[in-house]
């Protein structure tokens, strides 16, 4: 017990010192400008890793390390997410009790549309993610919603992602102050330190992509959701975006929020928007 408090006070004071040292930048009144943010975000990674092809950023840790990339290519020969993909395809065409199917809930029958999710729903005034839309489709057709972190949701999103493979991420921010606020919310969440380890998403995925935390190579934040959902060897199973966010939280000793909490929807909105233009590569295989 004793060491834990000293550790926490140490890390907190370090953070405060770090904050004090960085010279406060002269910042114009903070007008939210997603396009400028996205440009700056992408340029940061393009300059930090000049020899990584832009579209390769979506391959996460494998764009950062060749030994890992070879292991990934060997897995891609016959990837472990094949079963989830087949299950998703089958589920997608199996009608609900009322005879309808997922195709009736989505534009273009749900095929090749993953790159437009999440989108901002001006009626609801909130971000709607693919996982949320799938469960709403189930409920609208009298079916029980799936858990956001279990295999069924991962299989469905795996199939929808597969039908969009190669298409450029294409997230829109309507001219609606609530959409700009959701984007800003997501950005703030991404950069906010949390948990007793006092890390933000950026501490790992902006400041040290390509470096190791023990055996794992950290993925760059740019395009980090393009391969979702992912089959993780660590979990020897599929992982949805919700599951990944929640486990990242607990890794820094922060208590995860409920799946599809507003913060998660907004940070997904932010991360997807700044990756506009990069190809969808889901479902993915990861360490």
């Amino acid at each position: 017990m004793r060491t834990r408090t000293s550790f926490l006070l140490g890390s907190l004071s370090a953070a405060l010192v770090a904050f004090a040292l960085t010279s406060p930048r002269v910042v114009a009144a903070d007008k939210v400008d997603p396009a400028a943010d996205a440009k700056a975000f992408q340029n940061f990674f393009f300059q930090k890793f000049p020899n990584v092809k832009h579209e390769d950023f979506v391959n996460g840790p494998y764009s950062m390390n060749d030994d890992m990339k070879r292991q990934w290519q060997e897995k891609e020969e016959f990837p472990p997410y094949e079963f989830a993909l087949d299950a998703g395809k089958e589920m997608f065409s199996t009608p609900f009790k009322n005879g309808k199917t997922y195709a009736d809930c989505f534009p273009n029958g749900g095929i090749g549309i993953r790159q437009n999710y999440p989108y901002f729903d001006t009626k609801e005034g909130k971000v709607v993610t693919l996982e949320l839309a799938l469960n709403r489709c189930r409920e609208a057709n009298g079916e029980a919603p799936y858990s956001y972190v279990k295999d069924e949701m991962a299989s469905l999103t795996a199939y929808m992602a597969f039908t969009s493979r190669g298409k450029a991420m294409d997230i829109k921010i309507p001219d609606d102050p609530r959409a700009l606020e959701a984007f800003e919310n997501g950005k703030r969440y991404f950069y906010t330190r949390r948990g007793q380890l006092n890390f933000s998403c950026a501490s790992c995925h902006v400041q040290s992509p390509g470096e190791r935390i023990r055996a794992e190579i950290l993925a760059p934040a740019l395009g980090i959701l393009n391969a979702m959902p992912i089959y993780r060897s660590e979990w020897s199973g599929m992982g949805t975006i919700s599951r990944r966010f929640m486990t990242c939280n607990s890794q820094t000793r922060a208590v995860p929020l409920e799946p599809q909490a507003d913060e998660y929807r907004d940070v997904e909105y932010f991360l997807s928007y700044v990756a506009n233009g990069l190809p969808i590569s889901g479902p993915g295989a990861r360490p």
């Binding site: 834990r4 926490l8 907190l12 405060l16 950069y191 330190r193 933000s200 950026a202 902006v206 000793r253």
Partner: protein
């Protein structure tokens, strides 16, 4: 023979009145303070997993009657909860320092 004698003395000392064992009331007070701080942290949606586990350990020790450990754990949980509140408050502005511009 000599060893068991020293052990006996040591045992006696631990019950010496000078080191006052925590009472149930001490535990209840310390636990309530920890729980309040933890609620505040949860209210800011910035709870730490270690706060939750330490609070649980405090309760378990308290229920088991080990009030010394229960008070220590409650104090630890309170410190953790308070630190997470400080973190959430300071991060309201601090995050901008790390933002890619």
């Amino acid at each position: 023979m000599k060893r068991s004698l020293t052990l006996a003395i040591l045992l006696l000392l631990s019950f010496a009145p000078s080191a006052r064992a925590a009472s149930e009331a001490d535990y209840k007070a310390a636990y309530a303070a920890a729980e309040a701080a933890s609620k505040e942290a949860a209210g800011m949606r910035n709870q730490w997993t270690t706060t939750v586990s330490t609070l649980a350990a405090a309760r378990k020790a308290g229920d088991g009657g080990d009030f010394d450990r229960a008070v220590a754990a409650s104090k630890e949980a309170e410190a953790l909860a308070k630190a997470s509140v400080v973190q959430a408050t300071s991060e309201k502005e601090a995050w901008k320092a790390m933002e890619i511009r």
